[in-house]
Protein backbone atom coordinates (compact mmCIF):
# COMPACT_ATOMS: atom_id res chain seq x y z
CA UNK A 1 0.00 0.00 0.00
CA UNK A 2 1.36 3.37 -1.03
CA UNK A 3 3.02 5.47 1.68
CA UNK A 4 3.16 9.21 1.18
CA UNK A 5 6.67 10.36 2.01
CA UNK A 6 9.42 12.84 1.12
CA UNK A 7 11.40 11.84 -1.96
CA UNK A 8 14.60 11.69 0.08
CA UNK A 9 13.11 9.09 2.41
CA UNK A 10 11.57 7.08 -0.44
CA UNK A 11 14.89 6.76 -2.27
CA UNK A 12 16.66 5.93 1.00
CA UNK A 13 14.13 3.21 1.83
CA UNK A 14 13.52 1.59 -1.56
CA UNK A 15 16.64 2.05 -3.71
CA UNK A 16 19.80 0.28 -2.60
CA UNK A 17 23.32 -0.10 -3.96
CA UNK A 18 23.45 -3.00 -6.42
CA UNK A 19 19.75 -2.85 -7.27
CA UNK A 20 18.31 -3.29 -10.72
CA UNK A 21 16.22 -0.17 -11.17
CA UNK A 22 14.10 1.24 -13.97
CA UNK A 23 13.55 5.00 -14.10
CA UNK A 24 10.92 4.99 -16.85
CA UNK A 25 9.05 7.54 -18.94
CA UNK A 26 9.19 7.55 -22.74
CA UNK A 27 10.31 11.14 -23.43
CA UNK A 28 7.35 12.22 -21.25
CA UNK A 29 7.20 12.20 -17.42
CA UNK A 30 10.85 11.26 -16.96
CA UNK A 31 11.55 11.08 -13.21
CA UNK A 32 14.53 13.45 -13.09
CA UNK A 33 14.02 14.61 -9.50
CA UNK A 34 14.17 11.01 -8.26
CA UNK A 35 17.34 10.36 -10.26
CA UNK A 36 18.95 13.47 -8.78
CA UNK A 37 18.05 12.24 -5.33
CA UNK A 38 19.68 8.87 -6.07
CA UNK A 39 22.80 10.70 -7.28
CA UNK A 40 22.87 12.85 -4.12
CA UNK A 41 22.56 9.76 -1.95
CA UNK A 42 25.54 8.26 -3.79
CA UNK A 43 24.00 5.01 -5.05
CA UNK A 44 26.53 2.68 -6.63
CA UNK A 45 26.59 -0.45 -8.80
CA UNK A 46 23.07 0.00 -10.05
CA UNK A 47 21.78 -1.85 -13.09
CA UNK A 48 19.89 0.87 -14.92
CA UNK A 49 17.04 -0.30 -17.15
CA UNK A 50 15.35 2.06 -19.56
CA UNK A 51 14.37 2.08 -23.24
CA UNK A 52 15.98 5.48 -23.81
CA UNK A 53 18.78 6.26 -21.33
CA UNK A 54 18.48 9.91 -22.27
CA UNK A 55 19.80 12.75 -20.11
CA UNK A 56 18.61 11.04 -16.92
CA UNK A 57 20.99 8.07 -17.26
CA UNK A 58 23.71 10.18 -18.86
CA UNK A 59 23.77 12.04 -15.54
CA UNK A 60 23.64 8.92 -13.35
CA UNK A 61 26.32 7.14 -15.40
CA UNK A 62 28.55 10.22 -15.41
CA UNK A 63 28.22 10.44 -11.63
CA UNK A 64 29.26 6.81 -11.20
CA UNK A 65 25.97 5.30 -10.05
CA UNK A 66 25.82 2.48 -12.59
CA UNK A 67 27.78 -0.66 -13.35
CA UNK A 68 25.38 -2.03 -15.95
CA UNK A 69 22.82 -0.60 -18.33
CA UNK A 70 19.91 -2.30 -20.11
CA UNK A 71 18.59 -0.13 -22.93
CA UNK A 72 17.40 0.11 -26.52
CA UNK A 73 18.27 3.63 -27.72
CA UNK A 74 21.08 5.65 -26.17
CA UNK A 75 20.68 9.09 -27.66
CA UNK A 76 19.75 12.60 -26.64
CA UNK A 77 16.46 12.55 -28.60
CA UNK A 78 16.62 14.73 -31.67
CA UNK A 79 19.93 16.22 -30.54
CA UNK A 80 22.73 13.67 -30.76
CA UNK A 81 24.75 11.21 -28.75
CA UNK A 82 24.95 10.85 -24.99
CA UNK A 83 28.45 12.00 -24.13
CA UNK A 84 28.63 10.62 -20.59
CA UNK A 85 27.33 7.21 -21.64
CA UNK A 86 29.79 7.18 -24.54
CA UNK A 87 32.64 8.12 -22.21
CA UNK A 88 31.74 5.24 -19.91
CA UNK A 89 31.42 2.69 -22.72
CA UNK A 90 34.39 3.88 -24.78
CA UNK A 91 36.77 5.02 -22.00
CA UNK A 92 35.42 3.47 -18.77
CA UNK A 93 34.99 6.94 -17.23
CA UNK A 94 34.17 7.30 -14.41
CA UNK A 95 33.95 3.50 -14.30
CA UNK A 96 33.49 0.64 -16.74
CA UNK A 97 29.91 -0.16 -17.61
CA UNK A 98 28.44 -3.41 -18.86
CA UNK A 99 25.77 -3.13 -21.50
CA UNK A 100 22.73 -5.28 -22.27
CA UNK A 101 21.31 -3.90 -25.48
CA UNK A 102 17.89 -4.50 -27.02
CA UNK A 103 15.55 -3.03 -29.59
CA UNK A 104 12.58 -0.99 -28.37
CA UNK A 105 10.19 -3.78 -29.31
CA UNK A 106 12.24 -6.30 -27.36
CA UNK A 107 12.56 -4.20 -24.23
CA UNK A 108 8.90 -3.15 -24.30
CA UNK A 109 7.96 -6.83 -24.57
CA UNK A 110 10.38 -7.66 -21.76
CA UNK A 111 8.67 -5.17 -19.43
CA UNK A 112 5.28 -6.52 -20.47
CA UNK A 113 6.43 -10.05 -19.62
CA UNK A 114 7.72 -8.84 -16.26
CA UNK A 115 4.37 -7.22 -15.49
CA UNK A 116 2.70 -10.48 -16.53
CA UNK A 117 4.73 -12.56 -14.08
CA UNK A 118 6.55 -14.42 -16.84
CA UNK A 119 10.27 -14.96 -17.36
CA UNK A 120 10.22 -14.37 -21.10
CA UNK A 121 8.36 -12.65 -23.92
CA UNK A 122 8.08 -13.80 -27.51
CA UNK A 123 7.72 -11.59 -30.54
CA UNK A 124 8.62 -11.34 -34.22
CA UNK A 125 11.87 -9.46 -34.20
CA UNK A 126 15.61 -9.20 -34.57
CA UNK A 127 15.47 -10.99 -37.94
CA UNK A 128 18.84 -10.62 -39.59
CA UNK A 129 20.10 -8.30 -36.85
CA UNK A 130 23.38 -8.69 -34.97
CA UNK A 131 22.17 -7.96 -31.42
CA UNK A 132 21.26 -11.62 -30.73
CA UNK A 133 24.95 -12.41 -31.26
CA UNK A 134 26.07 -10.08 -28.48
CA UNK A 135 23.19 -10.30 -25.98
CA UNK A 136 22.59 -13.60 -24.21
CA UNK A 137 19.15 -12.41 -23.09
CA UNK A 138 17.93 -12.88 -26.66
CA UNK A 139 17.00 -16.41 -27.68
CA UNK A 140 14.44 -18.01 -29.96
CA UNK A 141 11.28 -20.09 -29.61
CA UNK A 142 9.45 -22.00 -32.32
CA UNK A 143 5.73 -21.22 -32.63
CA UNK A 144 4.09 -24.63 -32.14
CA UNK A 145 1.29 -23.78 -34.57
CA UNK A 146 3.05 -22.08 -37.51
CA UNK A 147 6.60 -23.34 -37.07
CA UNK A 148 7.82 -19.75 -37.25
CA UNK A 149 10.97 -18.89 -35.33
CA UNK A 150 10.22 -16.06 -32.93
CA UNK A 151 12.55 -13.99 -30.81
CA UNK A 152 12.38 -14.63 -27.08
CA UNK A 153 13.77 -12.15 -24.56
CA UNK A 154 14.30 -12.40 -20.84
CA UNK A 155 11.64 -10.52 -18.86
CA UNK A 156 12.61 -7.34 -17.05
CA UNK A 157 11.75 -7.63 -13.37
CA UNK A 158 13.49 -4.77 -11.57
CA UNK A 159 14.03 -4.52 -7.84
CA UNK A 160 12.57 -1.03 -8.03
CA UNK A 161 10.80 1.00 -10.69
CA UNK A 162 10.64 4.75 -10.38
CA UNK A 163 8.25 6.89 -12.40
CA UNK A 164 6.77 10.35 -12.43
CA UNK A 165 3.01 10.83 -12.84
CA UNK A 166 0.52 13.64 -12.97
CA UNK A 167 -1.53 12.96 -9.86
CA UNK A 168 -2.24 10.67 -6.97
CA UNK A 169 -5.40 10.65 -4.90
CA UNK A 170 -5.35 10.32 -1.10
CA UNK A 171 -5.70 6.54 -1.38
CA UNK A 172 -2.48 6.47 -3.38
CA UNK A 173 -4.07 5.68 -6.74
CA UNK A 174 -1.83 7.16 -9.43
CA UNK A 175 -2.86 8.66 -12.79
CA UNK A 176 -0.49 8.56 -15.76
CA UNK A 177 -1.86 10.34 -18.82
CA UNK A 178 -0.70 11.25 -22.32
CA UNK A 179 2.33 9.40 -23.65
CA UNK A 180 2.24 6.59 -21.09
CA UNK A 181 5.26 4.69 -22.41
CA UNK A 182 6.05 1.56 -20.42
CA UNK A 183 5.44 3.04 -16.98
CA UNK A 184 2.55 0.81 -15.99
CA UNK A 185 4.51 -2.26 -17.06
CA UNK A 186 7.65 -1.05 -15.27
CA UNK A 187 5.75 -0.56 -12.00
CA UNK A 188 3.91 -3.87 -12.23
CA UNK A 189 7.12 -5.73 -13.17
CA UNK A 190 9.04 -4.44 -10.14
CA UNK A 191 9.17 -5.57 -6.53
CA UNK A 192 8.81 -1.95 -5.39
CA UNK A 193 7.67 1.22 -7.07
CA UNK A 194 8.38 4.83 -6.16
CA UNK A 195 6.21 7.45 -7.82
CA UNK A 196 6.74 11.19 -7.84
CA UNK A 197 3.63 13.19 -8.72
CA UNK A 198 2.85 16.76 -9.68
CA UNK A 199 0.11 16.92 -7.07
CA UNK A 200 -1.98 14.94 -4.62
CA UNK A 201 -5.70 15.50 -5.11
CA UNK A 202 -8.96 14.44 -3.50
CA UNK A 203 -10.37 12.92 -6.66
CA UNK A 204 -8.51 11.88 -9.82
CA UNK A 205 -11.63 12.79 -11.79
CA UNK A 206 -10.89 10.59 -14.79
CA UNK A 207 -12.72 8.39 -17.26
CA UNK A 208 -13.03 4.65 -16.60
CA UNK A 209 -10.15 3.45 -18.79
CA UNK A 210 -7.48 5.95 -17.79
CA UNK A 211 -4.06 4.54 -16.99
CA UNK A 212 -4.30 4.16 -13.22
CA UNK A 213 -1.95 2.37 -10.86
CA UNK A 214 -3.99 1.37 -7.81
CA UNK A 215 -2.43 2.47 -4.52
CA UNK A 216 -1.73 -1.13 -3.47
CA UNK A 217 0.65 -1.58 -6.43
CA UNK A 218 2.87 1.32 -5.35
CA UNK A 219 5.33 1.50 -2.44
CA UNK A 220 5.86 5.24 -2.07
CA UNK A 221 4.35 8.44 -3.43
CA UNK A 222 6.27 11.72 -3.26
CA UNK A 223 4.73 15.04 -4.22
CA UNK A 224 7.40 16.87 -6.23
CA UNK A 225 6.00 19.46 -8.63
CA UNK A 226 8.13 19.87 -11.72
CA UNK A 227 9.96 16.58 -11.05
CA UNK A 228 10.05 15.65 -14.74
CA UNK A 229 12.09 18.67 -15.86
CA UNK A 230 13.60 18.94 -18.52
CA UNK A 231 11.06 16.34 -19.64
CA UNK A 232 7.42 17.39 -19.38
CA UNK A 233 4.12 16.60 -17.69
CA UNK A 234 1.12 16.59 -20.02
CA UNK A 235 -1.39 19.10 -18.69
CA UNK A 236 1.16 20.75 -16.37
CA UNK A 237 4.18 22.05 -18.27
CA UNK A 238 5.95 21.62 -21.60
CA UNK A 239 9.22 19.98 -22.54
CA UNK A 240 12.29 22.14 -22.08
CA UNK A 241 13.63 21.48 -25.55
CA UNK A 242 16.25 24.20 -25.18
CA UNK A 243 17.74 22.37 -22.20
CA UNK A 244 18.04 19.17 -24.26
CA UNK A 245 20.03 21.20 -26.80
CA UNK A 246 22.08 22.77 -24.00
CA UNK A 247 22.87 19.35 -22.47
CA UNK A 248 24.85 18.48 -25.56
CA UNK A 249 27.30 21.20 -24.61
CA UNK A 250 27.35 20.60 -20.84
CA UNK A 251 27.85 16.88 -21.12
CA UNK A 252 30.54 16.98 -23.81
CA UNK A 253 33.19 17.96 -21.29
CA UNK A 254 33.99 16.04 -18.08
CA UNK A 255 34.81 19.13 -16.04
CA UNK A 256 31.90 21.17 -17.23
CA UNK A 257 29.65 18.19 -16.52
CA UNK A 258 31.05 17.71 -13.02
CA UNK A 259 30.67 21.38 -12.17
CA UNK A 260 27.14 21.47 -13.52
CA UNK A 261 26.15 18.41 -11.51
CA UNK A 262 27.57 19.90 -8.32
CA UNK A 263 25.73 23.17 -8.74
CA UNK A 264 22.45 21.80 -10.03
CA UNK A 265 22.13 18.41 -8.39
CA UNK A 266 24.48 17.79 -5.46
CA UNK A 267 23.89 21.19 -3.89
CA UNK A 268 20.16 21.22 -4.56
CA UNK A 269 17.00 19.57 -3.23
CA UNK A 270 13.83 18.30 -4.90
CA UNK A 271 12.23 21.66 -4.13
CA UNK A 272 14.17 23.31 -6.94
CA UNK A 273 12.19 21.53 -9.64
CA UNK A 274 9.06 23.62 -9.25
CA UNK A 275 11.02 26.74 -10.17
CA UNK A 276 12.61 25.03 -13.19
CA UNK A 277 9.23 24.50 -14.84
CA UNK A 278 7.70 27.87 -13.93
CA UNK A 279 8.32 29.31 -17.37
CA UNK A 280 7.16 26.13 -19.07
CA UNK A 281 3.64 26.13 -17.71
CA UNK A 282 1.06 27.09 -20.31
CA UNK A 283 -2.65 27.65 -20.24
CA UNK A 284 -3.48 23.99 -20.78
Amino acid sequence: MAKFMPLRDAIAEFLHDGDEVAFEGFTHLIPHAAAHEAIRQGRRNLTLVRLTPDIIYDQMIGMGCASRIVFSYAGNPGVGLLHRLRDAVENAWPNPIEICEHSHAALANAYEAGASGLHCAIFRGYKGADLPKVNKDIKTVICPFSGEELAAVRAVRPDVSIIHAQKADRDGNVLVEGIVGVQKEAVLAAKHAVVTVEEVVDDLDVHPNACILPGWTVSAICEVPGAAHPSYAHGYYGRDNSFYLEWDRISADRELFTAWMKDNVLDETPKVFVSRVAALRSGT
Partner: protein
Protein backbone atom coordinates in the same frame (compact mmCIF):
# COMPACT_ATOMS: atom_id res chain seq x y z
CA UNK B 1 13.22 27.35 -58.34
CA UNK B 2 16.95 26.91 -57.72
CA UNK B 3 17.21 28.52 -54.32
CA UNK B 4 17.00 25.36 -52.16
CA UNK B 5 19.42 23.16 -50.26
CA UNK B 6 20.19 19.52 -51.03
CA UNK B 7 18.59 18.47 -47.72
CA UNK B 8 15.44 20.39 -48.60
CA UNK B 9 15.18 18.49 -51.86
CA UNK B 10 15.86 15.22 -50.04
CA UNK B 11 12.97 15.95 -47.69
CA UNK B 12 10.67 17.06 -50.49
CA UNK B 13 11.49 14.04 -52.66
CA UNK B 14 10.70 11.76 -49.72
CA UNK B 15 7.39 13.52 -49.13
CA UNK B 16 6.42 12.98 -52.78
CA UNK B 17 6.78 9.23 -52.32
CA UNK B 18 3.98 9.21 -49.75
CA UNK B 19 0.27 8.94 -50.44
CA UNK B 20 -2.96 9.66 -48.64
CA UNK B 21 -3.50 5.97 -47.87
CA UNK B 22 -0.14 5.42 -46.23
CA UNK B 23 0.33 4.62 -42.58
CA UNK B 24 3.85 5.78 -41.73
CA UNK B 25 6.05 4.92 -38.81
CA UNK B 26 7.91 8.19 -38.50
CA UNK B 27 11.38 8.79 -37.12
CA UNK B 28 12.79 12.12 -35.99
CA UNK B 29 14.62 14.38 -38.41
CA UNK B 30 14.20 14.26 -42.18
CA UNK B 31 11.48 11.55 -42.06
CA UNK B 32 9.38 13.62 -39.68
CA UNK B 33 9.76 16.67 -41.92
CA UNK B 34 8.96 14.63 -45.05
CA UNK B 35 5.87 12.98 -43.58
CA UNK B 36 4.47 16.22 -42.25
CA UNK B 37 5.24 18.00 -45.50
CA UNK B 38 3.25 15.31 -47.34
CA UNK B 39 0.39 15.79 -44.87
CA UNK B 40 0.46 19.57 -45.37
CA UNK B 41 0.53 19.31 -49.16
CA UNK B 42 -0.72 16.41 -51.31
CA UNK B 43 -1.60 13.78 -48.64
CA UNK B 44 -3.77 15.46 -46.01
CA UNK B 45 -5.22 12.16 -44.76
CA UNK B 46 -1.93 10.29 -44.38
CA UNK B 47 -1.66 8.52 -41.02
CA UNK B 48 1.47 9.32 -39.03
CA UNK B 49 2.53 7.13 -36.14
CA UNK B 50 5.45 7.85 -33.81
CA UNK B 51 6.89 5.08 -31.69
CA UNK B 52 6.02 6.96 -28.51
CA UNK B 53 2.49 5.62 -29.03
CA UNK B 54 0.88 8.56 -30.81
CA UNK B 55 -1.38 7.41 -33.65
CA UNK B 56 -2.79 9.69 -36.34
CA UNK B 57 -0.89 12.70 -35.10
CA UNK B 58 -0.94 16.08 -36.88
CA UNK B 59 1.76 18.24 -35.26
CA UNK B 60 1.82 21.93 -36.10
CA UNK B 61 5.57 22.05 -35.39
CA UNK B 62 8.03 19.22 -35.81
CA UNK B 63 8.82 17.41 -32.59
CA UNK B 64 12.36 17.54 -31.25
CA UNK B 65 11.94 14.13 -29.66
CA UNK B 66 9.84 11.18 -30.70
CA UNK B 67 7.48 11.93 -27.82
CA UNK B 68 6.94 15.68 -27.67
CA UNK B 69 3.65 16.80 -26.17
CA UNK B 70 2.58 18.20 -29.54
CA UNK B 71 2.35 14.64 -30.91
CA UNK B 72 -0.01 13.49 -28.19
CA UNK B 73 -2.10 16.67 -28.22
CA UNK B 74 -2.88 16.28 -31.92
CA UNK B 75 -3.20 12.46 -32.10
CA UNK B 76 -6.34 10.41 -32.64
CA UNK B 77 -5.17 8.29 -29.71
CA UNK B 78 -2.04 7.52 -27.71
CA UNK B 79 -1.28 3.94 -26.72
CA UNK B 80 1.32 2.36 -24.43
CA UNK B 81 4.68 1.59 -26.04
CA UNK B 82 4.33 -2.22 -25.71
CA UNK B 83 1.00 -1.99 -27.54
CA UNK B 84 2.57 0.22 -30.23
CA UNK B 85 5.15 -2.40 -31.04
CA UNK B 86 2.83 -5.42 -30.70
CA UNK B 87 -0.54 -4.39 -32.17
CA UNK B 88 0.51 -1.65 -34.55
CA UNK B 89 3.99 -2.42 -35.83
CA UNK B 90 4.19 -6.22 -35.49
CA UNK B 91 0.48 -6.43 -36.34
CA UNK B 92 1.44 -5.45 -39.89
CA UNK B 93 -0.54 -2.22 -40.00
CA UNK B 94 2.28 0.10 -41.11
CA UNK B 95 2.73 0.58 -44.85
CA UNK B 96 5.95 2.60 -44.73
CA UNK B 97 8.68 2.83 -42.13
CA UNK B 98 11.42 5.42 -42.34
CA UNK B 99 14.97 4.64 -41.33
CA UNK B 100 18.28 6.42 -41.44
CA UNK B 101 21.78 5.15 -40.76
CA UNK B 102 25.23 5.98 -39.53
CA UNK B 103 26.49 3.34 -41.97
CA UNK B 104 24.58 1.97 -44.93
CA UNK B 105 25.64 -0.64 -47.46
CA UNK B 106 24.52 -1.11 -51.05
CA UNK B 107 21.83 -3.62 -49.96
CA UNK B 108 20.16 -1.27 -47.52
CA UNK B 109 21.57 -2.90 -44.40
CA UNK B 110 21.88 -0.40 -41.61
CA UNK B 111 24.24 0.26 -38.72
CA UNK B 112 23.41 2.75 -35.98
CA UNK B 113 24.99 0.74 -33.16
CA UNK B 114 28.79 1.00 -33.12
CA UNK B 115 31.74 1.99 -35.25
CA UNK B 116 34.41 -0.60 -34.67
CA UNK B 117 34.13 -3.67 -32.48
CA UNK B 118 30.90 -4.05 -30.50
CA UNK B 119 32.67 -4.75 -27.21
CA UNK B 120 35.41 -2.13 -27.70
CA UNK B 121 33.80 0.43 -29.96
CA UNK B 122 35.59 3.32 -31.57
CA UNK B 123 32.31 5.22 -31.50
CA UNK B 124 29.33 4.09 -29.47
CA UNK B 125 26.28 5.16 -31.50
CA UNK B 126 22.72 5.31 -30.09
CA UNK B 127 21.71 1.79 -31.08
CA UNK B 128 18.68 0.46 -32.85
CA UNK B 129 15.68 1.80 -30.98
CA UNK B 130 12.71 0.74 -33.06
CA UNK B 131 14.71 0.02 -36.19
CA UNK B 132 15.28 -3.77 -36.07
CA UNK B 133 11.52 -4.45 -36.04
CA UNK B 134 10.58 -1.48 -38.22
CA UNK B 135 12.87 -3.04 -40.83
CA UNK B 136 11.08 -6.38 -40.52
CA UNK B 137 7.44 -5.49 -39.93
CA UNK B 138 6.65 -2.44 -42.10
CA UNK B 139 5.31 -3.10 -45.56
CA UNK B 140 8.29 -1.31 -47.04
CA UNK B 141 11.17 0.86 -45.86
CA UNK B 142 12.24 4.26 -47.10
CA UNK B 143 15.74 5.36 -46.15
CA UNK B 144 16.69 9.03 -46.04
CA UNK B 145 20.33 9.92 -45.52
CA UNK B 146 22.96 12.37 -46.69
CA UNK B 147 25.64 10.78 -48.85
CA UNK B 148 29.22 10.54 -47.58
CA UNK B 149 31.95 7.93 -47.81
CA UNK B 150 31.82 7.63 -44.04
CA UNK B 151 28.16 6.65 -44.21
CA UNK B 152 27.86 4.84 -47.56
CA UNK B 153 30.25 1.98 -46.92
CA UNK B 154 31.26 -1.26 -48.57
CA UNK B 155 30.73 -3.18 -45.34
CA UNK B 156 28.88 -2.03 -42.24
CA UNK B 157 30.43 -2.73 -38.82
CA UNK B 158 27.21 -4.03 -37.23
CA UNK B 159 23.85 -5.16 -38.58
CA UNK B 160 21.49 -3.00 -36.52
CA UNK B 161 18.71 -3.72 -38.95
CA UNK B 162 18.49 -5.96 -41.95
CA UNK B 163 17.85 -4.60 -45.42
CA UNK B 164 18.42 -7.04 -48.25
CA UNK B 165 21.35 -8.83 -46.58
CA UNK B 166 23.65 -10.05 -49.32
CA UNK B 167 20.96 -9.30 -51.88
CA UNK B 168 18.72 -11.49 -54.00
CA UNK B 169 16.27 -13.52 -51.92
CA UNK B 170 18.11 -13.01 -48.61
CA UNK B 171 15.00 -11.61 -46.90
CA UNK B 172 12.79 -14.53 -47.85
CA UNK B 173 15.51 -16.93 -46.76
CA UNK B 174 15.45 -15.68 -43.18
CA UNK B 175 11.66 -15.65 -43.03
CA UNK B 176 10.91 -12.00 -43.73
CA UNK B 177 7.75 -11.51 -45.79
CA UNK B 178 7.86 -7.71 -46.08
CA UNK B 179 9.55 -5.80 -48.90
CA UNK B 180 12.38 -4.17 -46.94
CA UNK B 181 14.12 -1.07 -48.32
CA UNK B 182 12.43 -0.02 -51.56
CA UNK B 183 13.61 3.57 -51.74
CA UNK B 184 16.73 5.49 -50.74
CA UNK B 185 16.50 9.23 -50.91
CA UNK B 186 19.64 11.27 -50.35
CA UNK B 187 20.76 14.84 -50.72
CA UNK B 188 22.09 13.95 -54.19
CA UNK B 189 19.93 11.24 -55.69
CA UNK B 190 17.07 8.75 -55.57
CA UNK B 191 17.97 5.05 -55.46
CA UNK B 192 15.86 1.93 -55.83
CA UNK B 193 16.86 -1.72 -55.38
CA UNK B 194 17.52 -3.71 -58.51
CA UNK B 195 14.61 -6.15 -58.90
CA UNK B 196 16.92 -9.17 -59.00
CA UNK B 197 20.08 -8.37 -57.03
CA UNK B 198 18.43 -5.90 -54.63
CA UNK B 199 21.47 -3.65 -54.86
CA UNK B 200 20.52 0.01 -54.59
CA UNK B 201 20.66 1.57 -58.05
CA UNK B 202 20.49 5.26 -58.85
CA UNK B 203 17.28 6.02 -60.71
CA UNK B 204 17.31 9.81 -60.45
CA UNK B 205 19.96 12.46 -59.86
CA UNK B 206 19.01 15.71 -58.25
CA UNK B 207 19.37 18.75 -60.55
CA UNK B 208 23.01 19.59 -61.21
CA UNK B 209 24.45 16.51 -59.48
CA UNK B 210 27.22 14.79 -61.48
CA UNK B 211 28.35 11.17 -61.47
CA UNK B 212 31.79 12.37 -60.32
CA UNK B 213 30.18 14.02 -57.31
CA UNK B 214 28.27 10.82 -56.63
CA UNK B 215 31.40 8.65 -56.81
CA UNK B 216 33.17 10.82 -54.24
CA UNK B 217 30.36 10.42 -51.71
CA UNK B 218 29.81 6.66 -51.85
CA UNK B 219 32.19 3.93 -50.71
CA UNK B 220 31.25 1.40 -53.35
CA UNK B 221 31.04 1.20 -57.13
CA UNK B 222 27.71 2.85 -57.92
CA UNK B 223 25.26 1.18 -60.26
CA UNK B 224 23.01 3.39 -62.35
CA UNK B 225 19.70 2.54 -63.95
CA UNK B 226 19.67 2.43 -67.74
CA UNK B 227 17.58 5.53 -67.84
CA UNK B 228 18.56 7.89 -65.04
CA UNK B 229 16.12 10.73 -64.58
CA UNK B 230 16.57 14.15 -63.08
CA UNK B 231 14.68 14.74 -59.86
CA UNK B 232 12.17 17.54 -60.35
CA UNK B 233 13.24 20.51 -58.23
CA UNK B 234 11.01 21.67 -55.37
CA UNK B 235 7.90 23.54 -56.37
CA UNK B 236 7.33 26.91 -54.82
CA UNK B 237 4.55 25.48 -52.69
CA UNK B 238 6.62 22.53 -51.44
CA UNK B 239 9.47 24.78 -50.45
CA UNK B 240 7.25 27.38 -48.83
CA UNK B 241 5.37 24.83 -46.75
CA UNK B 242 8.59 23.08 -45.69
CA UNK B 243 10.28 26.33 -44.71
CA UNK B 244 7.24 27.51 -42.78
CA UNK B 245 7.26 24.22 -40.91
CA UNK B 246 10.95 24.53 -40.06
CA UNK B 247 10.54 28.18 -39.03
CA UNK B 248 7.65 27.35 -36.68
CA UNK B 249 9.67 24.45 -35.33
CA UNK B 250 12.80 26.48 -34.70
CA UNK B 251 10.84 29.12 -32.86
CA UNK B 252 9.07 26.55 -30.73
CA UNK B 253 12.26 24.73 -29.73
CA UNK B 254 14.26 27.82 -28.85
CA UNK B 255 11.99 29.09 -26.17
CA UNK B 256 10.36 27.37 -23.20
CA UNK B 257 7.07 25.85 -24.33
CA UNK B 258 4.92 27.89 -22.01
CA UNK B 259 6.54 31.27 -22.54
Amino acid sequence: MSNYTPVELMTIAASRALSNDDVCFVGIGAPSAACNLARLTHAPDITLIYESGTIGTKPDVLPLSIGDGELCDTAVTTVPVPEMFRYWLQGGRITIGFLSAAQLDRFGNINTTVIGDYFAPKVRLPGGGGAPEIAGSCGEIYITMQQSTRGFVEKIDFFTSFGHGTGGTAREEIGLTTKGPTLLITDLAIWKPDPATREFTVVSLHPGVTREQMAKSVGWEIRYADDVETTPPPTEQELAVLRDLHARTKLAHQQPAGA
